[in-house]
Symmetry: C2
DNA sequence: GCCGCCCGCAACTTTTCGGTTGCAGTTTGG
DNA sequence: CCAAACTGCAACCGAAAAGTTGCGGGCGGC
């Protein structure tokens, strides 16, 4: 039962990628535009964008010769919802165990 | 502005680690006990447990000669809250842009 | 007290991954 | 129509990380 969340976590688990993602959250940018703002090459950024797109965290928008990317909040919200459910379940179980322990 | 979330994502971004974490969500287990259920050695699991502990996702509980681990929902909930906020912000911005576009 | 079990540390191997360089294709602006 | 700008693909490199083997130390039961 390997969760489908893990690939999304993998996509988010890099500083450069998170940096790119947050920038795309406030404005729509192309790979080349991002390359002027970040300390890595355009090709590296292109790889990151491919990873983010595969994870459903970013959408590509071709306009002529350039491709502009934008961050999608939807996937992030879905992940958050699942995490909330799981976290609550664990804590609830822990609380039950604690309650039983105090009955001694 | 590199987010403090990234290290947590890194801790969650591995299949084996996620597997361990979910098992610890339902019952409290030692590294050796986990090793009997998983296709990796005890030492590998110990490394994963160290990573999960460092990320605040797991708590260690020494009892005599063995150490039992348990999943903590708290950190997960915190992460989920932040993700919800960020995701909502991105989608809100996107909605505003769309509204402006329709005014043409 | 001794044998077994569980833990911790360290060295080594192998794969993954972030990053770079290099080159070829395509659209656009003058 | 030609040069500039943006993209895409592929090979290569170095570092980090997942996993293994090996060993030594501590706690528990018989």
């Amino acid at each position: 039962m390997t969760s489908s969340l893990v690939p999304v976590f993998a996509a988010l688990a890099d500083d450069t990628r998170w940096d790119i993602l947050t920038r795309l959250g406030s404005r729509e940018l192309s790979a080349s535009a991002l390359a002027t703002e970040l300390p890595v090459t355009r090709q590296a950024i292109a790889k990151h964008l491919a990873a983010l797109t595969a994870a459903g965290l970013v959408s590509a928008n071709r306009s002529g010769r350039e491709v502009r990317y934008r961050a999608l909040g939807t996937r992030l919200t879905e992940v958050a919802d699942e995490l909330l459910a799981v976290g609550a379940e664990w804590d609830a179980r822990l609380a039950r165990l604690k309650a039983v322990a105090e009955q001694l």
